[in-house]
Assembly symmetry: C2
Homo-oligomer: 152 residues x 2
């Protein structure tokens, strides 16, 4: 249930705090919610819905989506769309952005701060508040694009 401090950022919400949030939100702590919450809290990084479904065969997938949506609305998790592949859910507080190699699928996590200047410009000049961590960037890694690439 606990993780080493190196894996958890200080701004992160703890497990018990998360339970409190759920209670405050007025929701009920059901078996499905508790076990999914634990799983998401424990999970190393991003998990997909089908991974969760596999680890919680007792939970219907409709419930799964509803619970994830609930957790997200309460601000406990967020989800990322990894280009093509499935969406990945993870505990909030990981301040990083996924960069996916569109050829080999390798994912490099980049600190969210790298996007800060861009986020500022987008807000000021385009009125769009970047949701860092809710999207993935697509790229080509060195192995897949040796060099000279004319990236678009």
């Amino acid at each position: 249930m606990t993780k080493t401090s190196s894996e958890r950022s200080s701004s992160e919400i703890g497990f018990d705090e998360a339970l409190d949030r759920l209670r405050v939100a007025g929701g009920r702590i059901t078996r499905a919610r508790r076990s999914l919450l634990e799983d998401l809290y424990r999970a190393a990084g991003r998990v997909t819905v089908d991974e969760l479904a596999e680890r919680h065969p007792d939970v219907d997938s409709a419930t799964l989506y509803r619970v994830l949506s609930h957790f997200e609305s309460v601000g406990l998790i967020d989800h990322v769309h990894l280009g093509h592949g499935p969406a990945g859910y993870r505990w909030v507080g990981h301040r990083s952005v996924a960069v996916v190699c569109e050829d080999c699928g390798r994912v490099v996590d980049v600190p969210a701060d790298e996007l800060r200047p861009l986020a500022d410009r987008l807000r000021r000049h385009y009125g769009m508040r970047l949701s860092i961590g809710h999207f993935a960037l697509t790229a080509r890694c060195e192995a897949c694009a040796p060099d000279h690439s004319h990236e678009r």
Copy 2:
């Protein structure tokens, strides 16, 4: 069929050149392909499959996907997955990035140059060459996130 020069970048492929490419690729220039090619060439920005389907009621959607896939493999168009909804297709050479409001779905196009500094850093520090235009950024627009928002 022609667009004002301000809308087309110099690096862009012309319509006739595109037809040549299709011929060189060995494919046949069918009615569906020709009219879709024209549409995509003419289109102001990104078009979704259902927009194309609406404008080409004679073309079956299965054909639509196949034709789009063909055009893409020949390097005439590319597509972007806009978070949830359907993918957006457009003529290659448009150097912009889509920023999608995750609440209302509105898409704001931002010049690719805005991403240049980030792209440079990603290449130098992470060995990833950003594929600008092959992904969408997720954000909240002013209407959906009035202000003071704690973006995650």
